[in-house]
Point group: D5
Chain length 94, copies 10
């Protein structure tokens, strides 16, 4: 099942830089793991904002939820989740 | 350049069915042309609404604009355009 | 998979009463079919508004989409779709 | 009387982890008590967000209010309350 | 049970004046019936807008819904419903 | 003159409990004084939220302003003020 | 008592020009009457929009309501009403 | 004085094509006149929408208002006006 | 040129009272200076909120900006600026 | 490619003045570098707010993103990005 998720990251000013760098590094490792596993199918940066839009390909909402709550930067995020499905005009089995 | 575009279609009740079917057919042909040309990279239906979210891969905003204004259903759409760029954590050259 | 869907119905004034009554009757038959099939698990009226909130139990967003687009009153609706999953504190396998 | 309540939980960063774990544990005990008592009829997680949507079956708004204000996590919540009633197309006495 | 309901009336221009006057007259009769029955406890005009805010004292949301859907002007309204309960600082059994 | 005022109270986490209890107690005393004086005509709790909706009967906006700014909890409130007037269908001289 | 009222005028396309010109003329006469009577104290155009912001000096909300509902263009308006009072730093008895 | 104006054009479906083409042509002539006169300093299309963002350089808000109200397509527009001024970091006397 | 400015003041809880009183006093002196100079033409309190709506009569947006940024309470404000111009129905040269 | 970017700056109260002045100075140097390079084509102050609207002329969204994230004041900004393209009525190659 496909979900589009917009993630806006709000970095608190009193989060010390090393902790934040470490969080970002773990987030990147985790994100790339999920991409290689085919779960995190697309990850794009929204230009000019500390935000991304992603497409997840997961079994169901439960799996999406566990992935999201497991992201190191989740506590600093506001998220918007949109359920997607195949479009009749799509040529790819996207 | 990548753009995410959300398109919500509002079908006026007094649009007769044949005209609308013809418009939808032309829209589908046009959408599939653009997909084969690699311009309209992804096209997903938003579940439960007459709306889609798409990813366009175009030279610039000008080309996006011409594509959008040229869609048969454009007069019945409200659209939201978001400029995207590569995310440092993306593994694919997406 | 569970989806919560809010449906607000906007009845155009120039829709003649018989047509509307017929649509409502077909909608009711369809809704009750889906309830008996276990797809449309809950259907509640939002007090004081021509709107309902429903819980669907479907295979995925694709099935939800087909159900929604197939509802006779869909052309008169604005909808909001929220993907749900089991809550760790829920005692029922809800 | 049925109420739908959406609860978004905002965990302040300076709330130490043990206190928060204890609050969550008490919240879970309380939620399950209310579910067994038939007051908290449904509790679902909103996928991808620290939020839930719940259906309460209570005598009136006063009882709902006392339940909500009594939840350990209430001070960290923003809530939306919608009064529901039986839908004429519902087959279950839901 | 108390409900606060805000009702905004949108009068379509092509509704002929006599029909509208008749609707308003029936609405007034109905509103005054409900006030005498103690159901429609307060009815105030919102200054400068074709809108009112009312307090209903009803058995439950079901009764409120039936009252609202039965109002002659309901088809021309957008409504907002808020469930109320006694405030601990209120001196009147309001 | 009648005003409807919605008051949402946001209790900062670092406000120590005793101070807050004292503020609430003074607020209650003040609210009940104003109710007895006929200024604060109605005070209802909004179910499920730390908020109330009130009806004030005052000489003019100036008096309302002084009352509101004088409330002990005012610094923790966001407020919405709506000017009301008699409704032609109201049977009580409300 | 002072009220600030924002009036946005939405001119329906199928309102024939003569009727509209006549309405505007009557509106202007009425507005100038009220200004001379000291009721409509200020009337400014919002630049670039068919809207104005006005300051009314009236006995109470009831009088404001009657003035607004009596304006020829009221049926084509959406309005926002804000109750004002003297500011402690104002030097004029404004 | 500089004003930024966003103009969204909403073309009613029952506006016949010739009238609309004529309006657009007159709008273009007028826009180019104003550009040559230095009043309409910048005019950009918002990608993917029937909208533009423009920068006007006019004596004051009154002149802006007359220009806007005089545009042939104004009756089909919703507009947002923002007053601008020189930025201390701008190198051009923009 | 006329500008309407709405100023909402948000007083941080950790701003000590003396500093705040001093700021308010300087703000009042400055506001009255500007009123006497004819720049700050009207200043009204919005009833029930820590906010005001003001009308400034300045050379242009640049002057408005310098005035606003120079206000002692500006750092605690959110502001909304609306450019105004003479209304054809205004009898005063307002 | 042209982008319009609105930048609202929110200065935290506990940011000490020297650090902030230094940040602003570096921001100014960087902004003027980008303007001389033709990347930051226009920079205007929004009157009465700590915000600016800018027009960037960059290769693509990626370049815009790097510029924005590189601005010293970015951590204190909320931003809105709008992709622009040439307007058929624009006389300048703007």
């Amino acid at each position: 099942m496909l979900f589009m998720v917009r993630m806006d990251v709000h970095v608190p000013r009193d989060l010390d830089q090393d902790t934040f760098e470490a969080l970002k590094a773990t987030e990147k490792v985790r994100a790339q793991e999920l991409q290689r596993a085919g779960k995190w199918r697309h990850l794009w940066r929204i230009a000019g904002q500390y935000a991304n839009v992603s497409i997840f390909d997961v079994a169901d909402a439960g799996e999406l939820h566990d992935i999201m709550l497991g992201l190191p930067l989740f506590p600093f995020m506001t998220t918007e989740v949109t359920a997607l499905c195949r479009h009749p005009s799509a040529i790819a089995d996207d």
